[in-house]
Symmetry: C2
Subunit: 204 residues, 2 copies
Amino acid sequence: MSPNKPRAYHHGDLREALVASGRKLLEEKGIRGFTLRECARRAEVSHAAPAHHFASMDDLLAELVRRGFAELTAAMTAEADRIEGEAAARLVGLGVGYMAFAAANPALFQLMFSREANRIELEEGEAGAGGIRRLQAAIVEELLADASGEVRQRMVDFAWASMHGFITLVLEGEIGGRDSSRALKSRGLAVLAAMAETVVRAAR
Amino acid sequence: MSPNKPRAYHHGDLREALVASGRKLLEEKGIRGFTLRECARRAEVSHAAPAHHFASMDDLLAELVRRGFAELTAAMTAEADRIEGEAAARLVGLGVGYMAFAAANPALFQLMFSREANRIELEEGEAGAGGIRRLQAAIVEELLADASGEVRQRMVDFAWASMHGFITLVLEGEIGGRDSSRALKSRGLAVLAAMAETVVRAAR
DNA sequence: TTTGGCCTCTTTCCATCGTCAAGATTGGCG
DNA sequence: CGCCAATCTTGACGATGGAAAGAGGCCAAA
């Protein structure tokens, strides 16, 4: 009952604790400041304990990436589903969800879309970035029912590139360095609107 | 004259040698595999020698980033200048130069536009990403001479976001994973064309 | 209930890293 | 010609990721 350090062996759910502390640490210090030992420290566990739950540091990072993609697609569909209007509006909604997730988890987002991540998680059924494209592709297909497959593919490229590029540049401080969050949101919406309009116009 | 290891002390131009080996190493191993000691090893110099030319590892990386931005803007203007046609075509040209540089130096490009880089090189007269926006802004201004400042700003956001997002997703393997370089180029050009068309159309 | 096995966690160790301090070497300036 | 400052090396420190070996606790089979 002593509140000092009663828990000795057997943490209970160390795996989840490591995922949680790892995620916080990632956002605090960035990927270069991310340390397995610090994760363990925050979970109040010895530095070698994580090895029993994650084969390596990259394995933990891969788990964070995996969960990130799940959350990201969830955020996108949630935002799109809130809009019951036209397909174009839903396409914008996907972008809003995308950008909101990225803004809330900048370091994780960057990790998810980093060259390093791809060298890591080549396993799994690719529930990652593929799902994002599929979400957009479904709406583009709806908008461009009569267009060729190639036109549709290029419009999906375009839609994804626009929203990804904008939020990426914002997170890096390259766009709107000292703008208010309000102004930034407005600029992001403008980009999404221009994107959706271009997609719609591809139908001739 | 013995070709073994004649050069002992005084490398000659260690700074440049470190920049060169560092750049190669960065592309080979990525930022997470980048090591100051390995840079020194490749320059055939002791592990502490770099300290006399770069205050820290981040200082070397900052130099790489600085040179990267110079090369990137040079590549963009070179490609745009090759085209003497309309402003819209030159806008596409800027994008071609941008993507070509990124494809040729993927790891450096990612470093240049990474959250980590921004924490590093807060010095200097910002000859970095600001120059890129200025290049695009000049052409957009030409195309949208009659538009409001806000419209122009949003079109620059849009132009930059499109080209940045596309090449970024390609480098990460999210777009066109197994496509030929030829096909990828075509898709990139399609994105740039759609982008330029959207900018032009913003003039009403 | 007891006991044996297995999973969890700790301790200890190793190679490597970035950085610092001190010493060795050299080129060039007086 | 000799000395100085710049350049490079050697050695050390603390921190990291990972491997190996041992200690501690849970649970199911007897």
